[in-house]
């Protein structure tokens, strides 16, 4: 029902927008891309509203939402919020890497209790971080604008959990595993190519200082590449390679197809979160978060992007890494959690597969 409503909304939205406008705006992004994203967001909201309305009309209650909030969830939420805050604070102040790791608790609640519970956790987490812990060393006056990002993260995690993305599938036979890996890479590749790369084109056309800076991939013709970009690129590449090797080893050792699902979902969540978070970061904070990601904003803005675009370019990289890492951490936690304990949460059985006695 919700799916149908969403599909209708998307179709109507696209029809209203006319053909996909590929003329690039001043930043080089096809105007159609942004409109498409907007239509997608509106479709999600409409779909959710339709779902809730139908349930209310049919049963006069909102059971599927209320069911996500039993006592176990209520006890879990503050623990998840604490995980968010403690980890986020530790990583933000201690490590200077392009990750935040402040939504692991939210994702955990989303998977175990459901999308609405996950969204509520995200909201309460940011509000608690800002208001309840204000004046303490753990408080942050800058957390509240990102509440909507946290809501989106919790929502997505809940939906992925509902779909069984986080199920461990060990000892998958090789042919299936290989197929899964290939499909996963294709999906990630498509996501990156259509959702991410367009925002990095034409980086060079904008600035005409004596020292022209470009990402060599996306420009034709010989252009000198700035050592700054090489350094940043190498740093990110090293992190990614190490992580990829670790994941690959785990994948080959356990033959767990679930790992592939989690990776794809993590990248998807990262891309979506980037789009939601970047405007907020740019508008409220001038694109700065005080973490290692600021270096990326520096680099992109130096290459000629305006603030909004530079923040988006940074977000797409760091949020993808951050959410993928977070999803992997949650996957590891769920794997270590006793099945009996996990199964008692509202969405636990669905998210982790049925329990054997």
């Amino acid at each position: 029902m919700a799916g149908a409503a969403m599909a209708v909304a998307v179709t109507v939205g696209l029809a209203a927008l006319g053909t996909f406008d590929t003329t690039p705006d001043p930043n080089g992004i096809p105007a159609g891309s942004k409109a498409f994203m907007l239509a997608l967001v509106i479709a999600v909201v409409v779909g959710f509203a339709a779902y809730a309305a139908v349930e209310w009309i049919q049963t006069r209650r909102l059971d599927s939402i209320a069911r996500q909030f039993d006592t176990r969830t209520i006890v879990l939420i503050p623990i998840a919020i604490a995980i968010n805050i403690v980890l986020g604070q530790a990583v933000g102040t201690a490590l200077k890497l392009p990750v935040y790791l402040d939504s692991i608790g939210t994702i955990l609640v989303g998977v175990l209790a459901g999308p609405i519970a996950g969204a509520a956790t995200g909201l309460l987490s940011n509000l608690a971080w800002t208001f309840l812990l204000a004046g303490t060393p753990f408080g942050s006056p800058y957390a509240w604008p990102f509440a909507i990002v946290a809501i989106e993260i919790g929502l997505l995690a809940g939906l992925f959990g509902y779909a069984g993305v986080f199920r461990s599938r060990p000892s998958t036979p090789w042919p299936r595993l290989a197929t899964g890996i290939v499909v996963g890479l294709v999906v990630i590749g498509a996501l990156v190519w259509y959702g991410v790369v367009p925002f990095y084109r034409d980086l060079c056309a904008l600035r005409s200082t004596p020292l022209r800076l470009c990402f060599q991939f996306f420009v034709d013709g010989p252009v000198p590449v700035d050592p700054l970009f090489i350094a940043i690129g190498v740093g990110i590449a090293v992190v990614l390679v190490v992580a990829a090797v670790a994941v690959a080893v785990r994948l080959l050792r356990d033959r767990d197809l679930g790992l592939v699902f989690v990776l794809v979902a993590g990248v998807a969540c990262g891309v979506v979160s980037a789009f939601v978070a970047a405007p907020i970061a740019a508008l409220v904070f001038g694109g700065i978060t005080g973490s290692g990601t600021d270096l990326l904003v520096f680099a992109f803005q130096y290459a000629g992007s305006d603030l909004q675009l530079a923040v988006l370019q940074q977000s797409l990289i760091s949020d993808s890494i951050d959410k993928t890492a977070s999803y992997l951490v949650v996957f590891a936690i769920l794997g270590a959690l006793s099945r009996r304990v996990a199964g008692r949460f509202p969405q636990g059985e669905r998210a982790l597969g049925t329990i054997e006695a």
Partner: protein, 263 residues
Amino acid sequence: MALLTRLPPETPTAYHRLNPLTKAVVAMSTTLAALVLGGYLAPALVFATLVVPGAIAAGVLGRVIVVSAAATLPLAVAVALVSVFTRPGSTVLFEFGPFDATLEGADFAARIVLRLFVMASALGLFGLTTAPRAFIADLERRGVSPRVAFALGAVLDTVPSMVARARGVQEAQRSRGLDTEGGLLRRAAGVVPLVGAVVLGALHEVERRSLALDARVFGSGGTRHVLWAPPDTSRERAARWLLAGALLAVVVGTATGTLPRLP
């Protein structure tokens, strides 16, 4: 009963005694106004009218400034570095290697830093004059679900207890010979079992805790007559609406361009 009057958190000054929602509305109005009204003058005015008097009345002005400066400083440095050297502009102040420092960049950075400082000070004033449990009790009295109130209240205990548990696990690991000193890589590798132990320990406790809560008839709905809640006055209520109305006017005025842009 005398004990009941001793249960609520202490309120040393009149500003402390204001209803938590009032103080929250002040904080959010300050923050949003500083955000919506750009420039230098407007955030400074907002700071001077909505933060400073309250801070002085509560006797926490010094602490508010220190706390806000501490929160703003790391971001200020980052904003300055990024905006000054990479934001496009025509007036070059000085050069640093291949980077040009522009006036426009400095101007942008200064405005952002000011805004962040005002935001931090508004919330800092709130945090230093409002006991979180009082805020939650007030919210519950206003109709927030007791379950939400519980989830928020439990955060206050869970954060420090999780840190304490992490220290305990760290001690146990150290006594078992796990290398906690050493290079970054080794320390990073040591973080994983630590985080895992803390998180899994907390998760396995959820079952027991929720049983204990259910046994005490938690979450079954119905009215709860709590032992204390912060008082509210009609004057404060009026002040809150006034402030909210003013904020709305500011937002609408800025959006429609009717409000003149201050420097």
